[in-house]
Each structure stands twice: as structure tokens, then as C-alpha cells.
């Protein structure tokens, strides 16, 4: 077996993930290389979900009975855990949503309905980048259409990095908000954000980070980032589906208007008018994803038990190995950085003229699960003139042996369509 410095004890870790023991297609062992789409879920999280429904299930915040109090304590306890995980100054800055997409839409809508100085309108500009996930593009396109604000973006360099050369043209006095990803889900690029934050602060623009591909893979510190908002999603970080997070600076959450209306988010309601609860509740209309928040709390516990520094080191070592091995495959072109520096564990590539769909299908026949397509980041494909890519992505349970299986599988693909 390949030994790399910095690897986690994956033999032990893999035992926590029941699905990794699955066999496909008459006995082929599952090689799951699609964690950037969704991560697998450890027993520690699955068990907490079952326990929630078997012992504590109740609606939160409104009850005086034991179950309601226990469910509320679990739900709010999960908020504490998430707050600590991202080093939030206050637990009240952590809003639970259903996914990262809702988190990003929430910000866009708040800014659309906000009063000055936050209001986005036809005299203002919004800045994103060409490597964003659709969930960090379309909400801003919609906001731009609805308000008349101009949408601008940073382009990409040949090697899959942000092109910051024209920063002063892109971020201007008119810019109200800059929203960008910390890590590209298609290319794995880890973005340098300091210069952008500084520039945004100079012109008084808010900075939103899409941390969907960062939170699962590296230590995340919203204070160190100097962010105004940070969005991420539970299902990519060992948590359940149906839960996302938006962190926002308290002052902003106080000043900005609510988005969805309903139960839980109100202070008092009459037919004529209503007043709203303080954040985070102001932004959590209706019965929240209670069990899912509790599950996300358990996922955070799980990640902490391993240590995010160690997760990052593991993935770095694995990515270095994978990049090296993949570049040995003839006709393989990596879309994105071709070294492991400032890059996460998602590696996209093309393989000669063979369409990624076919690559994925033939790999699947060998039990290897990769993702193919535009990965909800179609502008990146357009930028590099390709219809789609094949993407292999790794996580804390991935092994060098799985990288080897991938490389072998790709040889088979080449022979098949050659």
C-alpha cells in the first residue's frame, strides 16, 4: 500500500461509514470519489438522527413540555457547536437554512430589500467570479434583474486561478457586495482572499464567502477571514441533507430585513402588522430542520474528533499523489491547478476526446463513483472551451489505493473507446 506522510488512519475512519462497505455490480467494492457533490455520513451522525426521532422529537422554542425543551436544547446546542466550529463571535450569528443555496439567496434577498447603506439597486454593482457554483451566480443574476444592479465578475487565468489583475476596475465605489467561493468545486482552486477583502472594505462593500467546499475540508475562521457573510452546507461535511448554514455579522443581521415570513421568526403578529424576533430567529421562518441541525452538530463533533488540520493534511497529501498519478495518464488534461499548492481535493479533468459521460459510466462499471458534467459551474467549462469534465474528489476517508483504482479505471476507459 502507498504510504504518504500526513495521511489519516483511514482503516479506522472507514469503519465509521457503513456505505463504504457497499459492493456494486456483482461484488465490485465501492470507490467513492464524489465527496465534493456530497460526503458520506458516519454512523455517529446516523445514530444521532435516529435517536432524535426515537427519544426527543418535538417542535422547538414554543413548548413547556419535556420533549419540547429537550429538542430545543439539542437544536440550539447544534448552533453552539457550529458557531464554535467557525469561530463565530456569537452563536446568534449562526442561521440554519436548508442548504448553501438558500443561504446565498437569503443574503441576496436581504440586500435587495435592505435600506441604505446596504441596499442594492440600479445604481450599484455586484461582484462575483467566473468560478462560482451556480448557487453563487443565479441568486445574484436574479437580484441584478430585479433591482437593475450591474453584475460584474473576476475572470480566470489559464491555470485555474482568479485573475485579479483588473481588480480596480471590477471592485469600485459602486460595489455593494462581493460574493465569491473560498474553494472552487470544479477545479479545487483555493482562492487568495485577503486582497479582495481589503479592496472591498476600501470601497465599503460587503463580502460574502461561499464556504461550501471549504468548511468540510479545512479549518474555517470567519473572524480571520474578515467576512460579512459565510455560507456552507451540511451534506458535504458528514452531515445530513436538508441543512445549511449562513453566518453573518451580528450588526448586519440586526439591520437587514427578514426574508421569509412565518412562525418562529416573529416577535408579535397582528393582522395589520408584525414585528420580528432578533437574529438568528428572524431569518428562520417556520419549523426549522431540527433533526438535521442536530445531525450537523454531530457531524461537527465528528470532524472535531479528527481535527480539521488533520483532515486538511490528509487531503493535501492525497491530492498531491492524485495529481501526480493522473498526469501520468495519456491525454489527460487537468482543468485547474496542476499542483497541490492552494488547491483542494476536487480534481477535474478531460480525457482526450472521450466525453466525460462515457468516462463516468465506464468507471462506474468498475465500482468507481466520480461526477461528470459541468458540476454546476458551467461558466468554468465555457471559459476553458470544454463541454464538461470528469471530477474525482476526495475526503477524509479516501485512500491512495482509491487513487490507484481511478488511474487503472481510466486506462480501461481509454482502451474501451480508443
Amino acid at each position: 500500500m502507498t504510504q504518504l506522510p500526513g495521511l489519516l488512519d483511514t482503516e479506522a475512519i472507514r469503519k465509521d461509514f457503513p456505505i463504504l462497505g457497499r459492493e456494486l455490480h456483482d461484488g465490485k467494492k465501492l470507490v467513492y470519489l464524489d465527496s465534493a457533490a456530497t460526503s458520506q455520513t458516519p454512523s455517529q451522525v446516523i445514530d444521532v438522527l435516529s435517536e432524535y426521532y426515537e427519544r426527543y422529537n418535538a417542535n422547538v422554542h414554543r413548548g413547556v413540555h419535556v420533549l419540547a425543551e429537550e429538542a430545543t436544547a439539542l437544536y440550539e446546542g447544534a448552533r453552539d457547536k457550529v458557531a464554535e466550529f467557525i469561530n463565530a463571535p456569537s452563536r446568534d450569528e449562526v442561521i440554519f437554512t436548508k442548504n448553501a443555496s438558500e443561504s446565498l439567496n437569503l443574503v441576496a434577498n436581504m440586500l435587495g430589500w435592505a435600506d441604505e447603506p446596504y441596499r442594492v439597486d440600479h445604481e450599484t454593482e455586484i461582484v462575483i467570479t467566473e468560478m462560482e457554483h451556480h448557487s453563487n451566480i443565479v441568486p445574484w443574476q436574479l437580484l441584478s434583474q430585479r433591482t437593475g444592479a450591474k453584475l460584474k465578475w473576476f475572470g480566470l487565468t489559464e491555470d485555474g486561478r482568479l485573475d485579479l489583475s483588473n481588480m480596480d476596475e471590477i471592485i469600485t465605489e459602486k460595489t455593494k457586495v462581493v460574493s465569491l467561493t473560498l474553494v472552487s468545486n470544479l477545479m479545487g482552486t483555493v482562492n487568495p482572499v485577503e486582497a479582495i477583502v481589503r479592496k472591498a472594505q476600501d470601497v465599503g462593500a460587503l463580502v460574502v464567502f461561499d464556504a461550501s467546499q471549504a468548511a468540510p475540508h479545512m479549518p474555517l475562521d470567519v473572524q480571520a477571514l474578515q467576512a460579512d457573510f459565510v455560507a456552507f452546507t451540511g451534506h458535504k461535511m458528514c452531515g445530513p441533507t436538508g441543512i445549511g448554514v449562513l453566518w453573518g455579522r451580528q450588526e448586519l443581521l440586526e439591520d437587514l430585513p427578514p426574508f421569509l415570513g412565518g412562525g418562529e421568526m416573529i416577535e408579535t403578529v397582528s393582522m395589520n402588522s408584525s414585528t420580528y424576533a432578533p437574529a438568528p430567529h428572524k431569518f428562520e421562518a417556520g419549523t426549522p430542520p431540527i433533526a438535521q441541525a442536530v445531525g450537523l452538530g454531530a457531524a461537527v463533533d465528528y470532524l472535531n474528533s479528527i481535527g480539521m488540520e488533520n483532515v486538511a493534511a490528509h487531503e493535501h497529501a492525497l491530492t498531491e499523489y492524485a495529481v501526480k498519478r493522473l498526469l501520468e495518464v495519456p491525454d489527460l488534461r487537468i482543468i485547474g491547478p496542476t499542483t497541490a499548492e492552494d488547491r483542494g481535493a476536487a480534481i477535474s479533468f478531460t480525457l482526450g476526446d472521450i466525453h466525460p459521460h462515457d468516462v463516468g459510466q465506464v468507471l462506474d462499471e468498475q465500482g468507481i463513483a466520480v461526477r461528470v458534467g459541468h458540476h454546476c459551474a458551467r461558466p468554468v467549462c465555457l471559459r476553458y472551451g470544454i463541454p464538461a469534465t470528469t471530477r474525482a474528489s476526495f475526503y477524509l476517508y479516501s485512500t491512495p489505493a482509491e487513487v490507484d483504482a481511478l488511474v487503472e479505471g481510466l486506462e480501461h476507459v481509454r482502451n474501451f473507446f480508443g
Binding site: R62, G63, V64, E69, T72, A73, I266, E267, T268, A277
Partner: protein
């Protein structure tokens, strides 16, 4: 959690009703609909009166009664210390067992120690105290303005 002292204050509230004041506030507990309108009258740094009217559960009603009993006649500094001690007790999640020193400060209010185990009820117990704090701040800033 329903200590006799609490039930007693609930059934026979002290100082209930609205009287003249320097400032008035209206606080609501949105989770249960408890409401209180509360007025503070100051004489320099002395609390001359805390009058109130509201609707709510035994805990919120008894707590307002205890507040009236404890704070009326006190100096502001002392009253604030009482309020902070009460807040600390209520936020203790049942972890604080009031000692003699605390009992000396809080008098009847120590009976609420048991309530702190019930997160949904802590807000009831605190409703009048938060209203008082708010009204006092308002009265002082009014005073500052007219001074």
C-alpha cells in the same frame, strides 16, 4: 418549580396597577404572549415606584410582584446589583444553589432558582426585570435630556 412563595406572590401581587412614572415600557414574550407594561418613577437615584400591569403566567406575575417588593425604595446602584444577581441565577440552568449571601440580596426572589431549570420559563421570570431595566434607562435618559 412552583414554590409556595411564588404561588403566594402570584395570588397576592405587590404593587400591581399603573401609577405615575417617569418612563413607561411595554415588553412582550413572543413565545408565550406574556406582556407587561411597566413604569418607573425615580427620585434622584432612588426608585420611588415601579408600577405595572400585564398578563402572564404565575411565574411572570409573581416575578413582577417580587421585583416591586425588592426594588421600590432602593438606590439605583443597589437595584442594579439585585437585578444582575437575579439574572445570573435565572441563567444558571439549575446549576446555582443559592447560598446565604445570595439569599440576602434576593430575598423572596431566590424561590425562582428552580425555574432556571426550565429554559422556556426563564423568560417569564425575567420579563418584568428586563422591562424594569429598560424603563430605568429610559427614565434616566429623559432626565438627562431635560437637565
Amino acid at each position: 418549580m412552583y414554590q409556595d412563595v411564588i404561588l403566594d406572590h402570584y395570588k397576592h401581587p405587590h404593587g400591581r396597577g399603573l401609577r405615575d412614572g417617569d418612563a413607561e415600557v411595554h415588553h412582550v414574550n413572543p413565545t408565550c404572549g406574556d406582556e407587561i407594561t411597566l413604569r418607573v418613577r425615580l427620585d434622584g437615584a432612588t426608585i420611588e415606584d415601579v408600577s405595572y400591569e400585564g398578563q402572564g403566567c404565575s411565574i411572570s406575575q409573581a416575578s413582577a410582584s417580587v421585583l416591586n417588593e425588592l426594588l421600590v425604595g432602593k438606590e439605583l446602584g443597589e437595584a442594579q446589583k439585585i437585578q444582575e444577581t437575579f439574572l445570573e441565577l435565572m441563567q444558571s440552568k439549575g446549576q446555582i444553589e443559592p447560598d446565604d449571601a445570595m439569599e440576602e440580596v434576593l430575598e423572596d426572589a431566590v424561590a425562582f432558582a428552580g425555574v432556571s431549570k426550565y429554559p422556556a420559563r426563564v423568560k417569564c421570570a425575567l420579563l418584568s426585570w428586563m422591562a424594569w431595566k429598560d424603563a430605568t434607562a429610559k427614565a434616566l435618559s429623559e432626565e438627562a435630556k431635560t437637565a
